[in-house]
Symmetry: C3
Subunit: 203 residues, 3 copies
């Protein structure tokens, strides 16, 4: 089941990359690359930082094929992709929840401090989008708008909190993942953003 | 002989970095750095992803000296460098051919899937230019214009195709390298670009 | 003592990140990230290139706490932080001196060539600022203005020069560090910049 969720998340991330790249008038190759880095960027950074090489996507060819297929699909049906907006947003949110917890667990296997594990989980979930925006010459959107990383951090805190209780590891994983997903859904639904430190008129 | 080609490619990559950096009015140090990352960026990313550390250029000081010398040369003669345009373009193209195949072979030694090896080869050849453009605050040129990565990918496909035949490894390497070089030369000569998915008027 | 200097440098780097991020109107999370990458970016790149993983900041949680505290402090008192400008500049300069030499010594432990060690030291000291500027969509300031990397390189040269003499390792470290710090202080005081290769009017 985790594998299926991972594939769904990969699809959503890849398609979000395609849409940004098309916006920037990139050529076919550029679009594929942006789809790719958006989908695997977070996991790659995580693997590099903890020294898990060759990095994950290099060891399972399935992800490469899924990304290529998603990218081609998104290019062909780009005019109609807005009909899929809700599904894509759901996949994306599931991906974020899953990647956050995968990142945390990889940090734990490397015997890192819980705070570092949460940072690693957040990076796994968000760095793909960051590198997508850098390659497209934009200030990364997660630094400026949405509650996104905040959902990852909250989920991570809940994860370590639940581990203090006698709950089976798998359930802790799932419950914390649901927290990430729920926080993000609620934040987007009710347009909740992080408080800003700027005065209203200057934003 | 491969070593000589490697040096020629390094020279061409370093000089291309210098020219872009001068265009951006960088200072001496900035120009050197851009020359450096353009020349070694691709190989560094490859080495990091497969866990081959310390990365290659750190283990052979020759490349550092070649890059420094090329950068100083390019700064001194920048007014006249356009006379060398053809040689530089040739060196650059040779570099791309060589780096693509070196990347592929490193991927094979790490026992990676052929598709991943081709991706690794393409990164080795093109990531230096990508990071050069990011540091100069531009959308990487290879995402938008030239047939460049396409040549690498074609060469990689030919490499794995030829390996199916009873041909000596060295010849496979050379023939695939020649494919990369030829595709790029033909594409530039006849101004062939990747098909775009955008309507004519919007480009 | 080195540990204290390291903390001071981290504080200065983190605060410099906060100030740039505020300038870009980032949200709370964005500001924290920029503070973080500015503070740990250089050491992270160094560790990745020589294969020292998990990277340093992941192994000592203190730095994460120092960065968080500095960032929160800087956000709360951002209106008044200009009163601390001199202290921050001093901390920053101390950080650069220290990081340069830490980078060089890590390079030596990995048995790298002196020139590569100096490059590694310079990266450790300067890459945090580079990645801060890239994330904020600016051409890195050290490529264009201040004598910064030059101070690191000079300090590195002095380090390897002094090692030829019968001086205790610790003193060599300290003396070379003082060179980095002094060069930078003098350069800023007297507004010395690297010579540019551009004609006056075009700058």
């Amino acid at each position: 089941m985790f594998y299926t969720l991972d594939i769904l998340g990969t699809i959503a991330f890849a398609i979000s990359g395609v849409l940004v790249a098309i916006d920037k008038k990139m050529d076919l190759f550029g679009i594929l690359i942006i789809a790719f880095v958006t989908a695997v960027g977070g996991g790659t950074l995580r693997d590099l930082l903890i020294g898990n090489t060759p990095v994950s996507w290099m060891k399972d060819i399935t992800f490469t094929y899924v990304i290529l297929a998603s990218a081609i699909f998104a290019m062909l049906f780009r005019g109609k992709i807005s009909y899929l907006r809700t599904s894509l947003f759901l996949f994306d949110t599931i991906g974020i929840g899953l990647y956050t917890l995968v990142g945390i667990e990889k940090g734990l296997s490397a015997e890192l401090h819980p705070v570092i594990c949460i940072a690693l989980g957040t990076m796994t979930a968000s760095f793909g989008g960051v590198i997508r925006d850098i390659l497209c010459n934009e200030i990364p959107v997660i630094f400026r708008k949405e509650i996104y990383a905040t959902a990852c951090i909250l989920g991570g805190l809940i994860y370590f909190l639940l581990r203090e209780f006698p709950i089976k590891d798998d359930y802790v994983f799932i419950m914390a993942g649901i927290v990430v997903i729920t926080v993000r859904l609620i934040a987007v639904k009710f347009k909740i953003a992080l408080p800003t430190i700027y005065a209203k008129e200057s934003t």
